[in-house]
Subunit: 376 residues, 2 copies
Amino acid sequence: MKQSSIRLADGRELLYFDEADDRVRAAVDQRDLPSPPAPTQLRLDPLTDEWVAIASSRQGRPLLPPTSECPLCPSKPGHLTEIPADDYDVVVFENRFPSFSSSAALGAMGAAETDGYPQTRPGVGRCEVVCFTPEHDSSFGRLGPARVRTVLGALAQRTAELGELPGVEQVFCFENRGVEIGVTMHHPHGQIYAYPYVTPRTKLYLAAAHRHRERTGRNLYADVLAAEVASGERVIASNEHWTAFVPAAARWPFEVHLAPNRQVADLTGLTESERDAAAQLWLAVVRAFDSLFDGTDRASGGSREHSPAMPYIAAWHQAPVRADRDLAYLHLQIFSIRRAPGKLKYLAGSESAMGAFVNDVPPEEAAAALRAVIKI
Amino acid sequence: MKQSSIRLADGRELLYFDEADDRVRAAVDQRDLPSPPAPTQLRLDPLTDEWVAIASSRQGRPLLPPTSECPLCPSKPGHLTEIPADDYDVVVFENRFPSFSSSAALGAMGAAETDGYPQTRPGVGRCEVVCFTPEHDSSFGRLGPARVRTVLGALAQRTAELGELPGVEQVFCFENRGVEIGVTMHHPHGQIYAYPYVTPRTKLYLAAAHRHRERTGRNLYADVLAAEVASGERVIASNEHWTAFVPAAARWPFEVHLAPNRQVADLTGLTESERDAAAQLWLAVVRAFDSLFDGTDRASGGSREHSPAMPYIAAWHQAPVRADRDLAYLHLQIFSIRRAPGKLKYLAGSESAMGAFVNDVPPEEAAAALRAVIKI
């Protein structure tokens, strides 16, 4: 894998991850771009002790532009995009409408106010877009295994590099897929958020892991994985290095964890053969999601449905950059809000206001359905 | 307000809350109903120490039935509904597809497994539906103040009564409004969940409130309210007993807290005049939400939008039944996922997987927009 870096017209960084070692990336961004938007601000919600990013500049970001205006396609004459080259394998670049950015440290909203109410601080960090393929109408599930491996390598490289940035405490690599999830671009892509704090969910994980270690001396996630493997009831696939299972207390109608068979803090800690094995299983699980309601959903129609593609979020849970690297346990969580053909799971009052989840699909049934369609 | 109770054909309880003291409720449910569905099961997610309800019976619940088949309308010849009477003011009844139920204590999934993995326990509790009006095409915002007062009285009565049920630890009264939020019935209604545990969000609130009291000796929410009132920047309306404000670190594009001016644990603790004042302001805030994008949204169309009505969740945060009644502070949180005409805020990767919120609408702008349309 060859990596090269350029700057876009407004100063943002773009990195090419090429599968051929001899690719030369000389194309220049010829657009006339405005300056990056005003930085964001973090505010502390004292009722929960959690930071919330206030990012008004994102209101203006494009929403589902037509294919002819897709900013994630390669550039061609008459259609200059975020990617100056006329072709690419995998490309990563700084989001033009970021929730966190390095310019925040210098911005007008940048002064930290730690007294008074509300407590604020600059939205320091970085948000990146990861284009999986130049083919606009493709999807993650239709990539080849080699390309998924390139994506994984790019995410590991970004995790390492973003973790070095001042103020970054956690790196989160994810894919939002489907308009039902809120994607604003159809072009197959993922994202990376480098947060200036440890996220609320990770803090919760680590607190439980800490209590478990105090009590047992063992790693919590490793114990959960061992219990799932021992039961086997919800395991949907595995290979030499990884296990894919539906967690016993899944919150989402279809939810899979893909975990390495040994404790690793984040993607940077994986060996080459673990990365190969991860790519294989990641692709297989996404393809299983895609084929779950294949054919049945288009027919079902229904006004709440927008597209026949299976909506999902694929989320790499990684250790914080600087803390609890032995407590955390790398895993990929893939979950869908589609609970049946034509039916979505919504986060309504109980989930959104109380954090109390009700899952209509028993995890054992979800596992059986996924096991029936997964191909390894 | 007169209250009367009957049993539906399958044994579920239904309560009429009538504004006239002389209403007699003799109508009998003449439907032939199947037995209540199998009880739900709670499973402990060890990674977060949170309970998740597994409720497979809910998969079969009706989804947006046509008006002619609405189960929340009054019964009439040829259309027997959940409400046997041919008219009503406010009606509360046990949900036919509950996430928690008293039958769980006796059910097949009912044995508690506190050893091994996963830990499970019966989904004991109760879920109720609250019909605000017999008029199918109305909405909360179109109710009169007297009806909102009746709804509030019913919620207070239910909070008291459900809190007495064995195993119930917290009572949550809420309204999901709009298909974008996931309502399955258009008829104006709210819901009540009587949980057999303190919800994750409330636990988080209480932990922060506890730390604040240790540090300052004061009530956290009272201090936040005082700071919002002192600043005034985000206050949108107030009356003798209540204040409505957008919290400084709002997570949602449009989010309002409606809080009493003194610490009260839950709805049962409000005086009569506090209830009158709450009803007035609750109605005014919902009407302000409804008129926020009035007229502009229908024109905008857009494939992600389903209806011009403002989607929102209205959530009464109450103290646990048995614990921390002095730490908690009753308030109504009303929030919308509509961030602009034709644009919704989705809970995608950052929010759903990491719990890290990014809000595109500065709270001060949201407050100004709401202040401009609210009518007291």
